[in-house]
């Protein structure tokens, strides 16, 4: 075990996989210099310029080159610096990478990873650098979606994403990059599609992803003081989704709050709520509640940002309302 920050865990997972498999190559803006979030620090020195490539500011070229390299047998990891920038290469991601295996009748495989900094978290990055956009990807069949909630998760899920034979989008959280925790030092690989019970509880299920897992845990602590025993689930991956874990928990607790940082108007929380309504209706003792990022572009001033971001207080309030439902 070593204590690593989230950003160090990303770099360590990349290094582990690059050392293990010489088909793993990294490309992106400034990545050879360590990257603007320092998530690729040290890789150039260790692996040399054939394995880590600086690109121009050309997201279509980055995503497309990763796709072509994957077709030719490499396992590229491309950095899209801010997840908001997927908008500039969405054709490559949604129309090409996600669909090429299907459209060619299985002739072409797509073992690649696209990763970058997602989310708000109160850093003042605003509407074009602070969005949570994991829900964009969830509308597109053919993409796997990963979003780690802490350093150990970041390490293990990225390693699994790189080893996966399908395209995986890893949404790292920029507000978690400085978070530190113990991370297993070698061969730490977490399976995609397995949610984690972060805290067990019997009264209500709180489902989170990435930064909202922390909000759920903090809410659970508040609720515990009031005699409400909340269970907290970290989904870890949206696709494949561990629906069974959500349903099993909801069937036990009878109550569900979903906390998602992306805008709620069509956020992934709607899919989780639908799941409960469609498959656990008889076990629910109260309507499902959703806590989401605001349905507005993200403002910058801290007071405005706090108004629309997901917080432990908002999750706890939603949970109290659900528990009070007659």
């Amino acid at each position: 075990m070593a204590e690593l920050t989230y950003r160090q865990a990303v770099a360590a997972a990349l290094a582990q996989e690059m050392a293990r498999d010489d088909r793993v190559v990294v490309l992106g803006e400034d990545v050879a210099s360590g990257g603007v979030f320092k998530t690729t620090a040290g890789l150039l020195d260790r692996f040399g310029p054939d394995r880590i490539w600086n690109t121009p500011i050309s997201e279509q070229a980055i995503a497309g080159a990763a796709m072509g390299a994957a077709m030719a047998g490499l396992r590229p990891v491309a950095e899209i610096m801010f997840a908001d920038f997927y908008a500039t290469c969405w054709d490559q991601v949604a129309n090409e990478i996600a669909k090429v295996r299907y459209m060619t009748g299985g002739q072409i495989g797509m073992p690649l990873v696209l990763r970058g900094a997602n989310g708000s978290g109160g850093l003042g990055f605003g509407s074009q650098h602070g969005q949570s956009v994991e829900n964009w990807a969830m509308c597109v069949p053919g993409l796997k979606i990963v979003s780690p909630s802490g350093p150990a998760e970041a390490f293990g899920l990225l390693a699994a994403a790189i080893r996966d034979d399908d395209p995986v989008l890893v949404f790292e959280h920029k507000a978690l990059y400085g978070r530190k925790e113990e991370v297993p030092e070698s061969e730490h690989v977490l399976p995609l599609g397995q949610a984690r019970t972060v805290k067990a509880g019997g009264d209500i299920t709180l489902v989170g992803l990435s930064i909202t897992v922390g909000a759920c845990l903090a809410a659970a602590a508040e609720l515990a003081a009031e005699g409400i025993d909340a269970e907290v689930l970290d989904l870890r991956t949206l696709v494949p989704l561990d629906a069974a874990a959500v349903l099993a928990s909801v069937r036990r607790t009878g109550r569900l709050v979903v906390a998602e940082e992306n805008p709620g108007q069509l956020g992934w929380g709607a899919a989780i709520a639908a799941l409960a309504a469609e498959e656990a209706f008889d076990d629910l003792t109260a309507p499902v509640a959703r806590v989401s990022g605001g349905n507005v572009p993200l403002p910058v001033a801290a007071s405005l940002e706090a108004e629309v971001d997901v917080s432990a207080a908002r999750v706890a309030a939603a949970a109290r309302a659900v528990v009070k439902h007659e």
Binding site: P56, S58, G68, Y102, M103, T104, G105, G109, D166
Partner: protein, 325 residues
């Protein structure tokens, strides 16, 4: 003129011409499911290019890609089955006309979002560079593509990384229904942009199969030798509309007539006759292609349609489609 070789190029062009004419006929009878964009008149580019690519080289094309797949060796019955929605389609019925792909023949796909495949071609070439395989990637696209961002991002990246990729612009002078001259600020869509990326201005008569073979052969050799990418403008002409549904009434009759005189088959025949090949021999080659395709169409039309269960395979690498447990 190396006669057996030139005759073979002619034979291949005849095959592509008659293949596309047959598709046009089938389309008009309502037998092609979805759109079809025909390469009629542009056969010399596909055939001349394929003649300079080795079996291990990669090529990629656009939604106007039947000819490029067939020229690399994709089985015609599988291509036709894909167009007609019959069993044995080269993409199992999941790609259709616009996405014909034959990886077994080095043809890494037809891409229907304009410009999307230029960055992908960079990636194929990048892998070849990293692994030092000596493989060259050739990427075909139309004149309209030179106005989309992906073109500029890809050509820039290829030049900066000195990738072994040959970009071939098939300038047929129309972006869909609009003359290309109306939407570019320079006379030539690709050649006049090459300088911005430090590349040579290379133009070839895209209707002269021997010229195409020569110019692309030089570009491929240079790329293979580590001299980086090329951007070649092959000037040609569509004999029909943008898609099989387009009558192309927007084109002046005299322009069409002028280009018909420069039809790649007409030019190839003139060269071969001048070199001593009999008109009868050339007619026989063409008649054979025509007859073979009539038979092929009958045979493919007689096949059953794909099993519906096929819609649920090939999303993920394990063959499944499920997004949740």
């Amino acid at each position: 003129m190396d006669l057996p070789d030139e005759l073979e190029l002619y034979r291949r062009m005849c095959f592509l011409r008659r293949f596309e004419e047959r598709v046009d006929m089938l389309y008009r009878r309502g037998l092609v499911h979805g759109p079809a964009h025909l390469g009629l008149g542009q056969e010399a580019v596909a055939v001349g290019a394929a003649a300079v690519l080795g079996p291990g080289d990669f090529s990629l094309g656009t939604y106007r890609g039947h000819a490029h797949a067939l020229a690399r060796g994709a089985p015609p019955d599988a291509v036709l089955a894909e167009l007609l929605g019959r069993q044995g389609g080269i993409c199992q019925g999941k790609g259709g006309s616009m996405h014909i792909t034959s990886v077994a023949h080095g043809y890494y796909g037809s891409y229907a979002i304009v410009g999307a495949h230029l960055p992908i071609a960079c990636g194929l070439a990048w892998a070849a560079k990293i692994r030092r395989t000596g493989v060259v990637t050739m990427c075909f696209f139309g004149d309209g593509t030179t106005n989309i961002g992906a073109f500029h991002e890809a050509v820039n990246l290829a030049a900066v990384w000195r990738l072994p990729v040959v970009f071939v612009c098939e300038n047929n002078w129309y972006m869909e229904y609009t003359p290309i001259s109306e939407v570019i600020p320079v006379p030539l869509p690709a050649a006049d942009r090459a300088g911005a990326y430090g590349l040579d201005r290379v133009i070839v008569d895209g209707n002269d199969v021997a010229a195409v073979r020569q110019v692309l052969g030089a570009a491929v050799a240079a790329a293979r030798d580590g001299h980086g990418p090329a951007l070649v403008e092959a000037q040609t002409y569509r004999l029909k509309g943008h898609s099989a549904a387009d009558g192309a009434a927007y084109r002046p009759a005299e322009e069409v007539a002028r280009w018909r005189e420069r039809d790649p088959l007409v030019l190839a025949r003139a060269g071969l006759v001048a070199a001593g090949v009999s008109v009868q021999a050339l007619d026989d080659i063409d008649a054979q292609a025509k007859a073979g395709l009539a038979d092929l169409a009958q045979q493919v039309l007689a096949r059953p349609v794909p099993e519906p269960a096929g819609a649920w395979t090939d999303v993920w690498s394990d063959g499944s489609w499920q997004w949740r447990n």
